[in-house]
């Protein structure tokens, strides 16, 4: 019988070896995936015993900790002194509802689990001593008074504002309306989901600035104009005739106001006055695929880079059946309507702010960054963000030509509501139809500064019954004024 017993013994030992292998799998191989799962309650509770890093910036505390002793353990619960002021960027860290925003994407840093050598050593020593592990703190680039200006300007309306520093990509303002109070998420989640606002789906938790997809309307003409001039086939002086409409595939596409056709005009004037028929003809001439190529240079068709979680951002571009659509042939899309920002085109405010910033930055796209630096518990800086160049979208001359058109649009065209005394403001309005009569998505993208462009901005307001010039431009102006420190009125 000994032969059988030996085999059975090998089977018995083999079963236990299999258990060692399985344990190793869960504790070494799959541990990271398990820790990242949203429903991992143990991970969430365990992380409350870590003295989580604070989130601050520009003299303000965005997120801090409240220490509480319960059944012999010290827990560090999150508190958000600014409540809803930057809730979509900062996010929340809770036990029941997991985490969002930077609280989620930067969790490793905030809990001292990042792989930087100094943090690893410090955490190891703390663990061995049985001391509380301290996380690293974040310093944000957000400017609180700009956030407040955006909050006040939008009021109960739904929409979003994104302001960037064109030369560095620093996010100066990022506000989504309606907002919510992150302090209520843990225990009064109903109050968060129940936030009301003047639009059909308020959904306060959605970060409209990075994940809200809207038809860009005429603001997209900036991209079309840039592509047209950059191609060398058009100049600001190229002549067109505007009959008040444009024909695509035998169908008429009207201007915003068909009663006053412009007749003969140049490209510069067309952008200043936002004449659809001109851009429609440019689109037909350039073709859809050519336009898509230029969009990609501005960052469309990719997740806009930012430190917030990837699934809280959305790529901009043509959409078909809820999916990004990259046309294989020119005839797949209507190039005329595409060129002035209709035709299944959906964009985020962050992407449009990047477009404005690129024009302001002589054609170079900078990576948007909302974290300025990451600071260790002892005050030393672990990571300092450096301006990062993503791409040259257009030539310097193209950027300057388009910028001049945008300046005139604010001086004498559709965007006069954004004028600020003593400051040069360039901008483009947008009024996109939503398919429901009388309810438009209104836009204003702009950049401004005293001597050189200092801020680029995109503002969107949902479900308005007037134009971007009347609704979004004043919102953008409030935020620009807060950032440029000017009290002058237009």
């Amino acid at each position: 019988m000994n032969k059988q017993i030996t085999r059975l013994a090998l089977t018995g030992v083999g079963l236990i070896v299999a258990l060692v292998v399985a344990t190793t799998y869960w504790q070494a191989w799959a541990a990271g995936d398990l820790a990242d799962r949203q429903d991992n309650q143990i991970q969430r509770v365990a992380q409350f015993t870590i003295d989580r890093g604070e989130i601050r910036g520009d003299g303000i505390v965005w997120a801090t900790n409240r220490e509480e002793k319960k059944s012999g353990r010290t827990f560090y619960f999150r508190e958000y002194p600014q409540r809803g002021l930057a809730a979509h960027v900062v996010g929340y860290s809770t036990q029941e509802r997991f985490r969002t925003g930077l609280e989620r994407s930067m969790n490793d840093y905030l809990t001292g689990q990042n792989a930087n050598l100094s943090t690893v050593l410090e955490t190891f020593v703390d663990k061995a001593k049985g001391a509380t592990i301290k996380g690293n703190a974040l310093r944000l680039t957000l400017v609180p008074r700009a956030q407040r200006a955006a909050q006040n300007a939008l009021g109960r309306r739904c929409g979003a504002v994104v302001a960037l520093e064109p030369q560095t990509g620093k996010v100066l303002a990022m506000y989504s309306s309606p907002t919510y109070n992150p302090n209520l998420v843990e225990e009064n989640f109903d109050q968060v989901t129940g936030v009301g606002a003047d639009c059909r789906r308020p959904d306060a938790l959605l970060n409209r600035a990075t994940a809200g997809l809207y038809a860009p309307g005429s603001t997209f003409k900036v991209v079309t104009a840039a592509a047209a001039i950059d191609s060398g086939r058009f100049t600001p002086d190229s002549e067109f005739v505007d009959p008040g409409y444009c024909e695509v595939y035998g169908k008429r596409v009207n201007n915003y106001d068909t009663s006053r056709p412009f007749g003969r005009l140049d490209l510069h004037t067309a952008l200043v006055n936002s004449v659809n028929s001109v851009f429609c003809n440019i689109g037909k001439e350039l073709g859809a695929r050519f336009l898509v190529d230029y969009m990609k240079r501005f960052g469309f068709y990719e997740l806009p880079p930012l430190e917030t979680p990837a699934d809280e951002r959305a790529p901009s571009g043509l959409y078909k059946a809820d999916k990004l659509f990259d046309p294989a042939q020119d005839t797949d899309v209507d190039p005329g309507r595409f060129a002035f920002g209709q035709e299944r085109l959906l964009v985020t405010p962050l992407q449009m702010a990047m477009v404005a910033a690129t024009i302001a930055n002589d054609g170079v796209v900078m990576k948007p960054q909302v974290i300025d630096r990451i600071v260790a518990p002892d005050g030393s800086i672990i990571v300092r963000s450096k301006p990062e160049r993503l791409d040259r979208a257009i030539k310097v001359e193209t950027a300057r030509a388009v910028g001049a058109m945008m300046q005139d649009a604010v001086e004498e065209g559709t965007g006069t509501a954004a004028r600020i005394g003593g400051i040069t403001v360039a901008g483009k309005t947008g009024t996109a139809e939503t398919g429901i009569a009388g309810l438009n998505t209104t836009w204003f993208i702009s950049y401004a500064g005293k001597n050189r462009p200092q801020v680029a901005i995109a503002a969107v307001v949902e479900q308005q019954n007037s134009t971007g010039g009347q609704t979004a431009a004043p919102v953008a102006r409030e935020v620009l004024q807060a950032l440029l420190g000017s009290t002058a009125n237009s």
Binding site: I5, L8, I16, A18, L19, I42
Partner: protein
């Protein structure tokens, strides 16, 4: 050094480990950190208990294996330490059960010390008792359904799992029966398989009655292993396994509880809400049927390589509510894996592996068929039980609630395993005496 002195040294090492374990749990639990004499007293009493057991072993089975008793002591010490850390009240009760277990261990040794092979004469009595014990939970008014499985018997406030004892009785019966019939069985005549098919039927019946795949798998696995050892025919074991799978598949189709277990095992996480039988509403499966398994995996994952440290693991919410149910019975392994990490969990499994290796060594050294079958059956049963519960917790196989030998909280399990240990030592003692290895 004599076998018994080696055992004594091993036991003292285990005693020290226990003291360290209790002290660290105590330090982690109390604030400010200070070492209380209470935790050391605990360890002292623990050591004294095993020293008493050691003395009985010296008297009754002086030539038995010197490693098994210290290993069992270590496992039960790890168990009590963890239970003390999780539920201090349960630790006291578990300690009492260990005292009773050691008492029965001593009693078994003393009663059977002259020749344990008298058991062989009563094999049918053991077989019938085993089946009766397995059926006990099915009796109305007596059986208890806990966590979906009908494995418990309750008399007054006293509740126990008869399956644990039935397992040992079944092994004794099989060892006797198979030794008797092994030649005829090996010839493969169909009529000799009558009693064996009966056992297969009984296992299936138990499965249906108790709704518990784990116990059925354990009992049937032991049966197949012993059949293989006795006849040397791998084909029998494979046919038996096929029959079991077929039977289980049949049960799977008709018993929703078993179906749920398998579904949970295959897809514990869903992205979309699915129907939740507990609430009757739509929910993600990880929030519903599979929450025990999923939370246990999170606990294991949270341990990582080195663990959180004894007493520093997370098992409750910040409000103090338990996150993982049945933590000190079915899921004690996930608690150990979190606090002691991969290092500690692998170390624990190593202890189990050593126990299994020593057990099979005894089976190899034994010089008669009954002893060989008995030792091999008991050891394989021990290994398979460990595999079924830990494998279930680790999602290697569908999760079923049985105990981790010597470690889990539970009286019936502790008592049954101490009897198992006594039987192994009896076989070992006799084998060493027969081979003249007594003075080695």
């Amino acid at each position: 050094m004599s076998l018994r002195n080696r055992e004594l040294l091993n036991l003292i090492a285990v005693g020290l480990l226990t003291a360290i374990g209790f002290a660290s749990v105590y330090i982690a639990r109390s604030e400010p950190s200070e070492l209380n004499a209470g935790s050391l007293t605990y360890a002292g009493i623990f050591l004294a208990l095993y020293l008493a057991a050691h003395l009985v072993v010296r008297y009754a089975v002086p030539y038995a294996d010197p490693v098994l008793l210290p290993l069992a002591a270590l496992l039960s010490a790890i168990g009590v330490t963890l239970i003390y850390r999780l539920e201090p009240d349960d630790a006291f009760r578990q300690s009492l059960w260990i005292v009773i277990g050691v008492g029965l261990f001593a009693l078994t040794l003393l009663v059977l010390r002259r020749d344990f092979r008298v058991l062989e004469q009563y094999k049918y009595l053991f077989g019938i008792t085993a089946i009766a014990l397995m059926m006990l939970p099915a009796l109305p008014g007596l059986g208890q359904t806990i966590n979906g499985a009908r494995l418990w018997v309750k008399v007054g406030s006293f509740q126990f799992q008869p399956g644990e004892l039935a397992k040992i009785f079944l092994i004794v019966f099989l060892a006797g029966y198979l030794r008797d019939k092994r030649e005829t069985l090996a010839q493969g005549r169909l009529k000799d398989f009558g009693p064996l098919l009966l056992i297969w039927g009984a296992a299936m019946l138990v499965l249906v009655q108790t709704n518990d795949l784990g116990s059925a798998l354990l009992q049937f696995g032991i049966f197949l292993a012993m059949l293989y050892v006795a006849t040397g025919r791998a084909a029998y074991a494979l046919t038996g396994l096929a029959l079991f799978v077929a039977g289980a598949a049949f049960v799977y189709r008709y018993v929703s509880h078993v179906q749920d277990r398998v579904t949970i095992w295959l897809t514990p996480w869903t992205d979309e809400p699915v129907f939740c039988a507990q609430t009757g509403e739509l929910a993600l499966r990880q929030d519903c049927g599979s929450f025990q398994l999923v939370k246990s995996l999170y606990s294991i994952g949270n341990g990582g390589f080195a663990g959180t440290g004894l007493g520093k693991g997370t098992f409750t919410t910040t409000a103090g509510d338990p996150i993982i149910p049945y933590l000190n019975t079915d899921f004690i392994y996930s608690a150990i894996a979190q606090e002691l990490g991969l290092v500690g969990a692998a170390g624990l499994l190593l202890v189990f592996m050593l126990f299994v290796a020593r057990g099979f060594r005894i089976a190899l050294l034994a010089d008669d068929g009954f002893s060989k079958l008995l030792a091999a059956g008991l050891t394989f049963g021990f290994a398979l039980q460990t595999f079924i519960i830990v494998g279930g917790v680790l999602r290697v196989i569908p999760l079923t609630g049985i105990t981790l030998p010597f470690v889990s909280y539970g009286g019936s399990s502790v008592v049954a395993n101490f009897i198992l240990l006594a039987l192994l030592l009896l076989v070992s003692n006799r084998a060493n005496v027969q081979a003249g290895r007594g003075r080695a």
